[in-house]
């Protein structure tokens, strides 16, 4: 009986840990859509990504390979008419989720622009990528769930406008590491704002 209980508790703990790694786009972010002048709401799960991969043309094979192992892609992009339509508090629930198991590898502030890049380490590779980019009238949230080869992403430079050389030196990549003016400490992702 004890062993059954212990096994159950371990299962719950493992599931809980796995759940904790799953990023949910907070309701506060979703509720920004009606205020926005333009919004993009993309949620692609595994089967849809596989389906999309089947429709990639000959010149999109790199993209196909890039998305082949992904579990999901979530993108929320809002363009507002005026400033002040969203605040840091709207993004805070997302940042809170990223405090555990994620590392903020880049943070850049320039005037009203604030861009953060988080990655999740999964064994020896990157298991996920989150970009939070806020400008005065624009907010973008990108969550790529699953093993993503940032070197491969950089190879897409020229195809989708993805710049080569942006890839941070993570996961044993050979690409040029980007200098980081305000890199947050690794491993904790503590918000320093």
């Amino acid at each position: 009986m004890r062993s059954i209980l212990a096994a159950g508790m371990i299962t719950l703990a493992v599931q809980g840990a796995a759940f904790a790694q799953t990023i949910q786009i907070p309701d506060r972010i979703e509720q920004l859509a009606p205020k926005a002048k333009e919004s993009v709401n993309i949620t692609l799960d595994g089967p849809l990504l596989q389906l999309a991969g089947q429709f990639m043309g000959a010149n999109e094979q790199q993209v196909k390979q890039l998305i082949s192992n992904l579990k999901a892609i979530h993108v929320r992009n809002f363009e507002f008419e005026r400033e002040g339509q969203f605040s840091e508090a709207d993004v805070e629930p997302l940042r809170a989720q990223l405090r555990s198991g994620w590392s903020r590898i880049v943070e850049s502030r320039d005037g009203g622009d604030h861009i953060e890049i988080y990655v999740k380490q999964d064994r020896q590779q990157i298991g996920g990528l989150v970009i939070i980019a806020s400008e005065r009238k624009e907010l973008s949230i990108v969550h790529i769930d699953g093993p993503i080869d940032l070197r491969q992403l950089s190879l897409l430079g020229g195809h989708l406008g993805i710049p080569a050389g942006i890839v941070p030196n993570i996961g044993g990549g050979s690409s040029r590491p980007a200098p980081e003016p305000r890199t947050a400490p690794q491993g904790g992702g503590k918000d320093e704002n």
Partner: protein, 119 residues
Amino acid sequence: MKHEPAGIDDDLDPAVEDALRRALRPVDPPPGFADRVIRRASARPSHVTAGGRWLARLATAAALVAAVSAGLWYRAGQEERRRAEGEAAKRQVLLSLEITSTRLRAVQMKINRQGESQQ
């Protein structure tokens, strides 16, 4: 071959009883009746079968054509839906990567600017 109806109630009026006996007495069929019945029975089915078979074949073929057409139509619709979903998913993937790349490019430009100013 004559048969008498039996079991008529004793209380019945004799006149009624007689009338009943006359009415219910077995009557032999007219001569040739059996032959005529057999002839008709054998003639009618052959006439029905000729038209019926043709109609049955036509109905079967029509049902088959309808079933195959419906199947093909359904499959074509499914394929079309799947293709539309796939194309939409592909556009969304490309848009997602475009937004991602735009953001990454913005970071890189800032990094490069700051790197240059430090030099």
